[in-house]
Amino acid sequence: MSLSLKISAFLSGLIFGFGLLVSGFFNPNNVLAFFDVFGDWMPGLIITFILSILISALAFMYLGNRSKSFLGEKINLPEKKLISQKLFIGASLFGIGWGLIGICPGPALVLLGNLKIEAIYFFIGFIPGIFLIDIINRK
């Protein structure tokens, strides 16, 4: 059972990566062109976004109210409901960074596999960024 879980996690990452590659989402130039609404706007990634949301929604519906996954694992869904100030600030900071470089964490891992030095620079900033709050709270 544990081996199948490992294989499915690997396949999930691989196929998710194929999606980022074939759509061109992994290429920051395309993402920045998607933000360039007043210039040479490339709106095509909207199709990718909507389709990925629809397919994921089908998967959630298929899962329904089951408490175990099809490989017998507990279903772990986020339970947070609170619309907090943290959510607004976090999403804004995220958007500012994303708008500057056109790279978000998933594509950054694909770029790392693509041996782009820029992915290393991204992670030099990203890793302290995700742990900053934990470090402050520990003190």
Partner: protein, 131 residues
Amino acid sequence: MNYILGGIGIGLGISILLILNGRILGVSGIIKRLIKNPFAENGWRFLFVLGLVLSPAIYSNFFETQNFEISSHPLTLIISGFLIGLGASLSNGCTSGHSVCGVARLSKRSIIATIIMILAALVTFNLAKII
């Protein structure tokens, strides 16, 4: 056509992890917990990231990969990476977790986060372009 295939790939990757492993595909959370404890819970996070990082090498055996240069300055990449990491940890998610998985399950938090993320990115990009 590539936009459609891409959406199917991203959606399938999310569906596999959800239906078989019972997990939400949120890349920033996966990276964070992977660093904290690489072998927690069967090491599924390590294998997920391995699949994602190996995807371009496997993909390029069958299909042509876009060739491009990234023009952002290293310092811009580091600062933006920091803002993205901090932002994702404060809002508990990024593009994959909030904008795709969260919106797909109609989570109010994720819908709000997605709208703010995209608006902030649009404003920042267009301001940076003027400056």
